[in-house]
Structures are given as structure tokens and as C-alpha cells.
């Protein structure tokens, strides 16, 4: 088995799909945060003012959700939570302290990555459904109580999504050699062996 060839982690379509979502996420998050708290209203300047931000934000969100469907279809099977994930989670505290030695071996995704995947899926579903409730350019007739609940749940799930993305980005920065999985589609054998030994075994078994 070759030790020097890189392993393919994502095909080009998945990578481009990921980056489309990422761009739309930043557009939707910044335009949404502008209305979240007065301290961030200045983000409306990025979108041509308050009115334009209000007009554009729902479209960013809807297109983000639509593009996430593509990623979901491709990745959800690898993200099913298994009993082994529990053991990993129990040791996660140690890993955060810098001690990776005791971590149980994981496959393509560890429990943390799976949780990120499902938090993103869940919060996007809630964001989409609640967002429709008060998108009055298209849906002006929902009762006021539904719009109140919609605004509240939309904001709560937006916070969940933003926190999840912060976690997601930090993990990619923290674990060296990860970002290239999305910029080049490949990772080094050493990276795979260190971080995803079972996946490494699976990828190199038939070679």
C-alpha cells in the first residue's frame, strides 16, 4: 500500500456545493445579524442599506437551504450516529485539552463532526420553515401569533447555526491538514491515519 499518495475525501461537486453553501451562509448570516442586534445593524451597509438587506436576506437563506439539500443527500449516510460515537464523545474533553492519544479510532466522521452535520441540518430546516412565516413579500397572511413564534424560533435557530459554524470553522483551523479536503479534495495519508484511522484503513484496504 502506498504511503505517499493522497487520499480523495471529496469529489469536486461536493466541494463546490460546500463553498456555495458557505458563501450563502455568510451572506445570510451577516444580513440576518444586522437585524439581530443594533450593534450589528452596520452590516446592512454591505448589502446596500436596510431595505435591500431586508429584501435580500430571505433569498440568501432559501438558496442556502436548497444547496444544502445536495450536501445532505451526499453525506447524511456517513453521519448516522452509531454506538461508537458515545465513547468518542466521552473522551472529547481530553482531546480538547490537547491529549489525543486516548481517542477511540473513528471512520470518515467523528461524533463531533456528525453532531455539527445534524445541528446544521436541523437549524436550517427550522430557519426555512419559520422564515416563511414572516416573509411578507410572499406570505403576507399568516396570523400574528404565528409570525411572533416564527421570529423567535428563527432567531434562536440562527444562533444555533452560527455557533455550529463557528465550531465547524474552528475545527478545520485547529486540525491541521483539514482545509485542503475542501480546497483540493484530498488529504494526506498521515492526516487520515491520525484523525480518521478507520476511514484510512477502509480507503487503503483494496489498494
Amino acid at each position: 500500500m502506498s504511503k505517499t499518495t493522497d487520499l480523495r475525501r471529496y469529489d469536486d461537486n461536493t466541494r463546490m456545493n460546500h463553498w456555495v453553501i458557505a458563501l450563502l451562509f455568510f451572506a445570510a448570516a451577516l444580513s440576518g445579524l444586522a437585524f439581530f442586534h443594533p450593534s450589528m445593524f452596520f452590516f446592512t451597509n454591505l448589502f446596500g442599506g436596510g431595505v435591500w438587506t431586508r429584501i435580500l436576506h430571505p433569498y440568501f437563506g432559501v438558496f442556502m437551504c436548497l444547496s444544502f439539500v445536495g450536501l445532505y443527500v451526499g453525506l447524511h449516510r456517513d453521519n448516522v450516529i452509531t454506538p461508537e460515537d458515545k465513547a468518542w464523545l466521552e473522551k472529547a474533553g481530553q482531546m480538547l485539552k490537547g491529549d489525543k492519544a486516548g481517542m477511540p479510532p473513528v471512520g470518515k466522521y467523528n461524533a463531533g463532526q456528525k453532531i455539527v452535520f445534524w445541528l446544521m441540518t436541523g437549524s436550517l430546516v427550522v430557519l426555512l420553515l419559520t422564515g416563511l412565516l414572516f416573509w411578507h413579500a410572499w406570505f403576507p397572511d399568516f396570523p400574528i401569533w404565528a409570525r411572533r413564534a416564527g421570529v423567535l424560533l428563527h432567531a434562536v435557530s440562527a444562533v444555533v447555526l452560527v455557533l455550529t459554524v463557528i465550531m465547524h470553522i474552528y475545527a478545520a483551523i485547529w486540525v491541521k491538514g483539514t482545509v485542503r479536503a475542501m480546497t483540493r479534495g484530498t488529504v494526506t495519508q498521515a492526516w487520515a491515519k491520525t484523525n480518521h484511522p478507520l476511514w484510512h484503513k477502509e480507503m487503503t484496504a483494496d489498494k
Partner: protein
């Protein structure tokens, strides 16, 4: 209007620092005495005339309400209700419109800085030039008053004729009311006059006559004298104890700053974690990490 009013703003939407508020003014209020109202709709006409807005021709929906609901162009509306009281038919007529709450839910819910202001005299005013058209004021209002224009996507409602009041005039509806059912003056005078009127109605047999100045929204700067103060709901759904929905107040109150703190905190925590623990690097026996 803006000139006179710009120094006495006590609350401004989506603004976390004090607004210019050196000028002191007396709190004003409009008192609507339902028992004196004859339902002539002159107030609607005066509102329309003074504010130079003419609503579109509507359709007859079988009741006297005309138009059938408040709109972006109809900021006040007589709502007619027929009820049976003491064995006889009674016609309740309520002039609906913005109540100018002391604790305005619209202002609390609004995310656009300065789109909604509250003056020291108690008037809650929409500043359409700052309005972004999101409709959050609609979710904030306990009285279902703001309306979004289909033409410009801005929110509109009664201004309590803030332009007239700022130059010492009473609102147009007050000026025009032929029976004196609508009066305007200092809030404390209106409260006292309203209580007197309620007392008179009690003497005349309306046992539950009362002044409507609901405490749940901190009191209002538009108040009613109601013959049946115990049954406010029968006045076309006037809430007996209105307050800002907890879904709006809790979120716009404590949760938002906490959530901002949480998000900023997460970024800072990530940064500090990296600095403390350092990166996770791939261990390779033969090849050094890239």
C-alpha cells in the same frame, strides 16, 4: 415636525444609547368617550384630510365598518358592534387606532434604528424614512395596529397628529368631533376627566363604566371611557389586559444581548483554545507534515 421634535425623544427603536432628550414636555393624551360617540366617522374623514391620504374604494361587507379594517391609508376606524345588554340591543362604537402605549411593543420589536420613536409627550411615531419594511412592528403590537403599505413597504399608523401637537394644536380627529366624544390634553387631566366621566356613567346605571388605560403596556396615550369597562372584549376585541407578547419581550429583552455575548464568546473561546492547546498535527513517521 422633525425640527421641533428632535430634542425630546425618550425612546428610539434599535438604539442602545440615549437619544436627544434634553427638552421636557408634558405628557399628552387623547380621551375617547365611547358613550358620547354617534358613529358619524367625521374623525376618519378629518384624519384622511389632514394627513392627505385617501384610502382606496372598498366594498360593503354588510356592517357599518368602512373601510372594513385599518389600512396603511386608514389610520383610524370606527368599529361597530351590536350587543344585547340588559335585555335591549346596544350599539357599541369604538374608534380604533394606535393607542400610543407608554411601553410600545412596536418600538421594542423594530430592528431598524430610529424607524420608531417615542417622544417625551408620549406620542409613538413611525419614521418611514428609516423603516426597512420587515413587519416586526406588527408582531410587537398588542392591538394589531401597524399596517404595511403595498406601495412602498413601509409601516403606517396614527401619528396622534404629532405634527399638529408639536405646534400646539390638537389632533385632527379631536378638532372635528361634533359631539365632543374625543378630547385632548395633558395625560393627567385626561385621566382625571375620564374617571369623572366613568363616575357619571355609573350614576346613570352603567355599573361597570371605566377608564381604559391598560397598565400592561404602561398605560396608553389614547384612552377610552367605556360604558362596559368589565367587558372590553365586546368592543370589537379590545383586549382587557394587553401586554407585549412574551415571545417578543423576552427575546428582544434579555435573550438577544446574551446570544450576542454567546456568539462573540464562542469566537474568543476558539482563539484562546488554539493559543493554549495549539493545533492538532498529523503524525507521520516518514514524511513531515505539510
Amino acid at each position: 415636525m422633525t425640527m421641533q421634535s428632535s430634542l425630546d425623544i425618550v425612546a428610539r427603536s434599535a438604539t442602545t444609547t440615549p437619544s436627544p432628550s434634553v427638552r421636557q414636555s408634558v405628557e399628552v393624551a387623547k380621551l375617547i368617550d365611547e358613550s358620547k360617540c354617534i358613529g358619524c366617522k367625521a374623525c376618519q374623514v378629518a384624519c384622511s384630510q389632514w394627513n392627505e391620504i385617501s384610502d382606496d374604494m372598498g366594498t360593503n361587507v354588510g356592517v357599518y365598518d368602512n373601510p372594513s379594517d385599518l389600512t396603511d391609508k386608514s389610520w383610524t376606524l370606527m368599529r361597530f358592534t351590536e350587543v344585547e345588554e340588559n335585555g335591549s340591543l346596544e350599539w357599541l362604537i369604538r374608534k380604533d387606532g394606535c393607542m400610543h402605549c407608554a411601553d410600545p411593543g412596536c418600538l421594542k420589536a423594530c430592528p431598524a434604528p430610529g424607524a420608531i420613536v417615542q417622544y417625551a409627550n408620549g406620542i409613538v411615531d413611525f419614521k418611514q424614512e428609516n423603516c426597512i419594511g420587515c413587519g416586526n412592528c406588527v408582531t410587537g403590537c398588542p392591538f394589531d395596529i401597524p399596517r404595511i403599505s403595498k406601495k412602498d413597504n413601509k409601516a403606517y399608523k396614527c401619528t396622534l397628529c404629532s405634527d399638529r401637537v408639536s405646534v400646539g394644536l390638537e389632533p385632527a380627529c379631536v378638532k372635528t368631533c361634533p359631539t365632543g366624544a374625543i378630547t385632548f390634553g395633558k395625560k393627567e387631566d385626561m385621566v382625571s376627566y375620564g374617571n369623572t366621566r366613568a363616575g357619571e356613567l355609573k350614576e346613570r346605571g352603567f355599573k361597570h363604566a371605566a377608564l381604559y388605560n391598560p397598565a400592561g403596556v404602561g398605560g396608553t396615550h389614547v384612552m377610552y371611557v367605556l360604558k362596559h369597562g368589565d367587558k372590553t372584549e365586546q368592543y370589537a376585541g379590545l383586549p382587557s389586559n394587553p401586554s407585549i407578547s412574551p415571545m417578543v419581550s423576552l427575546w428582544k429583552g434579555a435573550l438577544k444581548p446574551l446570544a450576542v455575548l454567546g456568539m462573540v464568546g464562542a469566537v474568543v473561546a476558539g482563539f484562546m483554545h488554539y493559543m493554549k492547546v495549539g493545533p492538532v498535527e498529523a503524525k507521520d513517521e516518514e514524511k513531515e507534515s505539510a
